[in-house]
Subunit: 277 residues, 2 copies
């Protein structure tokens, strides 16, 4: 499917990240309220809209390394995406992209694409997927209800997220102090993961900092996402962690493992812990 065709799948991710070319490397997208935390769209969702335009511009299929700096809060509704192809090589191609609303820049991206199916080289993995109870023994959203802040983010209904009960105590006001969340993740509407969706999925868990400090609004300053493999269908096992909350700044590292036990995406972001939006 080219990015210019209407999404025929009926899946929310494809419908809500569709972009339409309007000439000269410019695209129109629509920021849906379905991926928001209160009035603020999730950063990974904004990234996925920008990458839909980048993907349609570059010759390689997989977003191996993506960096985004968030500049001002995105609103629901029309978004302009401007894509500048930077370099196309044999193995990788790179583009820059700007997301604007009413002429105000919301986010700036750099994205390097490659072809993970064509990658050749040594493999040594010295990490294991998170040890999780089976999904049916984890804490689903129906069990957790609204966030401790009282908010019930629309984005939660897009995912089937099952947190390891060992890392969901903060929902009940009892953070573990370890700064780590683990769980199972998939789209609620049955869409299978692919490399286009991983930059959103890797940012889909609640902030791990909620396991360290009382919740608030956690806007992302910068996120980098590395897509390391094409995911198999089924559940993704996730682990996110924050180790350094310093003067309100925090990093969050995330990993997604597919149903074959292969790590397929990792991200690191710098964010701020603010008291309310």
């Amino acid at each position: 499917m080219s990015a210019t065709e209407p999404a025929a799948t009926g899946h929310a991710f494809d419908a809500d990240t569709q972009v339409t070319p309007v000439g000269d490397g410019r695209w129109h997208g629509e920021v849906s309220p379905r991926w928001s935390i209160g009035q603020y769209p999730n950063g990974g969702y904004i990234l996925a809209i920008g990458l839909a335009a980048v993907r349609a511009t570059l010759p390689h299929p997989d977003p191996v390394a993506v960096s985004a700096h968030f500049l001002s809060p995105t609103e629901h509704g029309l978004v302009d995406v401007e894509v500048e192809p930077v370099r196309a090589g044999r193995a990788h191609s790179t583009a820059a992209a700007r997301l604007l609303q009413g002429g105000t820049e919301r986010a700036r991206l750099l994205a390097t694409y490659g072809d993970l199916a064509a990658a050749r080289g040594p493999t040594v993995v010295i990490a294991s997927p998170p040890l999780l109870p089976p999904p049916e023994e984890c804490t689903g959203q129906e069990a957790t209800g609204p966030l401790p802040s009282g908010l019930d983010p629309a984005i939660r209904r897009r995912f089937d997220l099952r947190l390891d009960p060992a890392t969901s105590g903060w929902f009940a006001g009892a953070p573990s102090g370890r700064g780590e969340l683990r769980g199972w993740l998939r789209f609620a509407d049955g869409r299978e993961p692919d490399t286009a969706a991983l930059p959103l999925l890797v940012d889909a868990l609640p902030p791990a900092v909620f396991d360290l400090a009382t919740g608030g609004w956690v806007p992302t300053i910068e996120i980098s996402v590395y897509v390391r493999g094409r995911p198999a269908p089924g559940w993704l096992a996730c682990r996110t962690a924050t180790r350094f909350l310093m003067d309100g700044y925090l990093e969050e590292d995330a990993e997604l493992w597919d149903s074959r036990g292969r790590m397929v995406a990792q991200s690191r972001q710098l964010a701020r812990l603010n008291r309310g939006p």
Copy 2:
């Protein structure tokens, strides 16, 4: 000191990252061979040249989040830096920058600056500095000699690097298989660390992948650097790790802790392990 004045310190870092404005947001720099691995300049050094021009352009002093995508191998000699201010807010300002040689783009950066001295907010740190023997009991460069590949990179003479002997076995052909390097780091010429130098210092150790797989050339595709604090004078304690070498792609995470035991910079990069340059 403004970036337009000659570096009066006599320190190699300041002399070799100096940039001169040539109008319209354009700057000239000079890529010195003193920071190279063979014929290839270190990525953190290239980043530091670009950031010297960004720092002179933006109102905030500290590079809190920097992302760089490397596009083609940089050569020694003249480099053009083009800086585009993207947004200036109260707490943060952001710029994009391009580094070009002979019209060919070498690297594209996004950098968000802030003022770490003005940061206010909660602090919870759940990690500790690496446990290291004192510097005099670590493995210095005089003990390790050239790299296992036979190369003796010029950049090694810019730093006083003392590796924990538990992580320097790969020099003698005996990698530990843990994919982790730890050690002490400072500039060889006595220059103290600051937030301008941290984006280079955090990329100064040899690749941690050498502790997993036979050495080669490890070009960076993308690096993101978060500067988390203004470092105290003295040694930096470092830890770098690679956990996923997959089909030749690898991530490397690094942390620098200052002499007060405070984590001051962290980076993550995606690179390729290639057989020879």
